[in-house]
């Protein structure tokens, strides 16, 4: 257990103490106890920069289940560190923010911080594990801590709905990813990512390669809310705003991106990887931004914006993966796309984090997030307004903020798509820059909506619950820090690029020489014109928004993905219920019909398929007259039971059959059996009479009607039993072990009655438990008669 492992699990450890601390120090906000940890971890991870920037990695291993190749291998490389810093850095800010956001008197802070810490630890585990199973473990943990956080206000219907939705979709992906991981293991014999990467070249031809690729991508796509799995993210906004800022924009949703980046060296040699990721990414980008515009809830806008931005990063990663296809020249081309992805990932965390916090402030101070109710807040909360401006402009890709830089790089990447000569990108690849541009226009629009509809325009105090005022300083610190980062990186991108991004890039595209220099000015290239076009058209459309908003009405409400999910879930449940009810009808007869039908079907099939019916008469004994007589008696007796209506007659006939059976035992040289059968039969008949004499006379309608199904099934059962008996008897291959008993019964067990000696000695163990059965039966009968808990006779018998 190294310090690194300790760092990863430290949030879990702290989480254990949170409820105790909460109980002990009720008047101190629990957040204060939590805050030191992420700060500490952040500074701890900062110290790794010096190592990773020289392209080294650190690996520490602790065995977990080595027997199946699962070890807790913690590995810090550029990519992992980038994420670790995001998690702990933003984590610190979010915790600080939450201290002011959540009231210590009204909220169940203990559970909140436990969830949050669980999440933090899980997320660290995801990005720092080199073992896929361990990674998967932490991955599922993020899903569940997210589930709990979304359902934090669990008495709200929508919270529960959102929690369930996010859990189902992300776990679906997780399981698929697990399948992919296992497939990878089958191909490579290891769960360790580094070892898989080392073997990557050898497995591309494996038929399991493509399935594994798809399975793992499904996991990434669901987690990162890629179209069409994005539907859980807007509903996840039911979580408290700090959570949304942390999980649902800055970190957890990026786990999918992390996974794609991490697995790029394994899969990128396959063209499918490139176009799947790029394609889904660009679709998500468009769909997210397009839908963000129509939203009226501030958090919903941010949610769709997150979806769209995640799509953008994803598509960049996809294109970047193409770098592994080409020689050095084109390499750097696509390497640049990857750089853009990583860069934007970071930028997105900063500006989106600050925007969420801003929205949280607005919500907190006005009591609503509905832009139809908000407006003119600029005068009441100037600092918040400033922060919002910085965040949204960066999101819209305006200079001089960091969003501008990554947006430019994004356009560059999209234009280069046309040069890609895999999967016919050169023909239909044109779609990429076009869609990217359109999506950027929408991005611009919703960014403007976000800031201007809230802070400018008409102030409508009558629609607000509270009188708005500027947020307390504590609440503003975190967004201010993030907004400053937006500006600083905007001006000095290369500090970040050299120290953090470049090592990350190295992990995604190993052994590639990529120029990580980010420059502000590229000259008059298509990218610049695209940006200008975005701004121009964006402003135009923003101003005319009310006029063309009806476009959205063209999309029928019944066909949305959400509807599909809801109805699908409902349909599955209803159909299951209906289906299960049809065959589980509570009638034992029906069940028996199923069981016997299966019995007949499967055994008949087996006999037929295996040619198992052998009939060999060489080994049989002679047929005696009396035996035939007895056989006839049994046959007649048992068949006539079927047709008699009187209970008494049926019971007597059963007794007759039983006595005949005991006569068979006499004829077949089994005196002990005959004795026992006789006595037992007598007692059974007596019991039958005792238990049934009180039944009332049968009514006519209850007469036994002949039923064809029953008849067919019974004949089938009888036939099968007979056929197997005949063939089993014809198959006597071995001698019975009975000779031993003949030899040893007297000498070793001092008895002459072999059957009895077997019963009390050789197989006395059977007998011991046979009488146990009897005793239990007696106990049961006694209790059944005497103890009546539910019935009307309750009082009589006490």
């Amino acid at each position: 257990m190294s310090l690194l492992h300790l760092a990863i699990i430290s949030p879990f450890l702290l989480a254990i103490f949170i409820p105790i601390l909460y109980k002990l120090f009720r008047n101190i906000h629990t957040g204060w106890f939590v805050l030191p940890l992420p700060i500490l971890l952040f500074s701890y991870f900062l110290s790794f920069i010096s190592i990773t920037s020289t392209h080294k990695t650190i690996t520490e291993s602790v065995p977990w289940i080595p027997a199946i190749g699962v070890d807790f291998i913690a590995k810090v490389d550029g990519l992992g560190l980038l994420f670790a810093l995001l998690i702990t850095g933003i984590g610190s800010l979010v915790v600080l923010y939450s201290i002011y956001y959540l009231s210590k008197d009204k909220e169940k802070l203990n559970t909140f911080y436990v969830y949050l810490l669980l999440f933090m630890g899980a997320m660290l585990g995801v990005v720092l594990s080199d073992n896929l199973i361990v990674l998967y473990t932490f991955w599922e943990f993020t899903s569940f801590s997210s589930f709990l956080l979304i359902g934090y206000w669990y008495d709200r219907e929508k919270s529960r709905y959102g929690a369930q939705k996010s859990m189902l979709i992300t776990v679906l992906g997780g399981l698929s990813m697990l399948g992919g991981i296992i497939l990878l293991y089958i191909m490579t014999g290891t769960f360790n990512i580094s070892e898989i990467i080392a073997q990557a070249a050898g497995i591309t031809e494996n038929p399991l390669f493509i399935p594994a690729l798809i399975c793992i991508l499904l996991g990434a796509f669901t987690k990162s809310a890629q179209f069409p799995f994005h539907i859980w993210l807007p509903d996840a906004m039911e979580a408290p705003t700090p959570v949304s800022a942390y999980l649902h924009s800055a970190t957890m949703v990026k786990a999918g991106i992390y996974l794609v980046a991490r697995m790029t060296p394994v899969f990128a040699s396959e063209g499918l990887w490139v176009w799947l990721i790029a394609g889904f990414g660009i679709a998500t980008l468009f769909w997210g931004s397009f839908n963000a515009v129509r939203q009226t809830d501030l958090k919903a806008i941010l949610a769709f914006s997150t979806i769209s931005q995640l799509g953008m990063i994803m598509s960049l990663l996809g294109l970047g993966a193409a770098a592994l296809h080409f020689d050095d020249v084109k390499n750097s081309f696509y390497g640049a796309a990857t750089l853009a992805a990583v860069f934007h990932l970071f930028n997105h965390a900063t500006f989106k984090g600050s925007l969420f916090m801003v929205v949280g402030i607005v919500d907190h101070e006005t009591g609503t997030r509905d832009i139809r109710k908000l407006g003119g807040l600029m005068n009441f909360m100037p600092i918040t307004f400033t922060l919002a401006i910085i965040g949204t402009f960066s999101m819209a890709g305006l200079p001089p903020f960091n969003g501008f830089l990554s947006k430019e790089m994004f356009f560059t990447g999209m234009i280069r798509v046309l040069e890609l000569d895999i999967f016919n990108f050169e023909t239909w690849g044109m779609l990429f820059p076009v869609i990217a541009w359109i999506a950027s226009v929408f991005t611009f629009i919703y960014s403007m909506v976000l800031v201007f509809k809230t802070f400018t325009g008409k102030y409508q105090p009558e629609k607000l619950e509270k009188k708005p005022h500027e947020a307390p300083m504590g609440m503003l610190i975190s967004p201010i820090v993030l907004a400053s980062l937006v500006i600083i990186i905007g001006f000095f991108p290369n500090i970040l690029a050299n120290s953090i991004l470049s090592p990350a890039l190295e992990s995604i595209l190993p052994n590639n020489n990529i120029d990580v220099h980010i420059s502000f000015w590229h000259g008059f290239k298509p990218e610049l014109f695209m940006t200008i076009g975005v701004i121009a058209l964006g402003i135009l459309l923003f101003l005319t928004l009310p006029k063309w908003k009806r476009v959205y009405d063209f999309f029928p409400k019944k066909l949305t993905l959400n509807r599909l999910y809801d109805n699908g879930l409902e349909l599955i449940q209803r159909a299951s219920n209906k289906l299960t009810k049809t065959y589980m009808n509570g009638s034992i007869r029906t069940y028996l019909v199923y069981i016997f039908a299966f019995f007949i079907f499967i055994l008949a099939t087996t006999i037929a398929v295996k040619n198992a019916f052998i009939f060999d008469t060489s080994n049989i004994s002679s047929i005696g007259f009396y035996e035939v007589l007895l056989a006839l008696a049994i046959v007649i007796g048992s068949i006539s039971i079927l047709f008699v209506n009187s209970r008494m007659t049926a019971i007597i006939l059963l007794g007759a059959v039983g006595y005949t059976v005991s006569l068979f035992y006499v004829l077949f040289r089994a005196p002990d059996l005959a004795l026992t059968q006789l006595v037992i039969e007598t007692i059974s008949v007596a019991l039958f009479l005792l238990c049934f004499y009180h039944l009332p006379k049968k009514r006519n309608e209850e007469r036994n009607r002949f039923k064809l199904t029953n008849a067919i099934i019974s004949i089938g059962v009888g036939a099968i039993v007979t056929v197997i008996a005949l063939s089993a008897h014809s198959n006597k291959v071995f001698d019975s072990i009975s000779e031993y008993y003949v030899e040893n019964t007297y000498t070793e067990a001092a008895g002459k009655n072999m059957v009895n000696v077997i019963l009390v000695d050789f197989r006395g163990f059977d007998t011991l438990f046979e009488i146990t059965v009897l005793t239990i039966a007696a106990l049961g009968i006694f209790a059944m008669i005497k103890l009546r808990m539910g019935g009307k006779k309750k009082n009589e018998n006490k």
Binding site: L687, A750, N753, G764, T767, I771, T775, A778, I785
Partner: protein
């Protein structure tokens, strides 16, 4: 209508002896001839049932004040104890021991732990049968 069952009751007293004698015979001879604890037990309970038929359950329970459930449990304890007795000698469970003893009247007799086991079976069978009969008989 009330009837007396004098004939039945008198016969029963005689027949009872025969049955019980026979059931003991069957029980003890089980190792050599057909029979054993099981049938013996059933016969003994048959005798008790006959008593119940000839007299009534209350009378019989006065003559034989036995809790049949305990009887069954005792039998089980006998059988289980014989089995578990092997534990003290560290031989496999249920290993029987036997020896021949010259008894004054019966002559050469095989003494057998299996007999104790069988006695357990006997008791269980009587206990169980009688529990069933008695419980149902007493109901309603």
């Amino acid at each position: 209508m009330k009837t007396n069952d004098l004939i039945l009751q008198t016969t029963t007293k005689v027949v009872l002896f025969i049955i019980i004698l026979f059931s003991f015979h069957i029980f003890f001879a089980g190792h050599y001839t057909p029979g054993g604890g099981f049938v013996g037990g059933l016969l003994t309970s048959g005798a008790i049932i006959l008593l119940m038929l000839a007299f009534d359950m209350k009378t019989v329970s006065q003559i034989l004040p036995v809790n049949y459930i305990y009887m069954a449990a005792t039998g089980l304890l006998f059988a289980g104890g014989t089995a578990a007795g092997a534990l003290f000698f560290n031989v496999p469970l249920l290993t029987h021991a036997f020896g021949h003893v010259d008894l004054p009247i019966l002559g050469d007799t095989a003494l057998h732990t299996a007999t104790i086991f069988d006695l357990g079976v006997f008791l269980v069978v009587v206990g169980v049968t009688m529990t069933i009969i008695q419980t149902i008989g007493e109901d309603e």
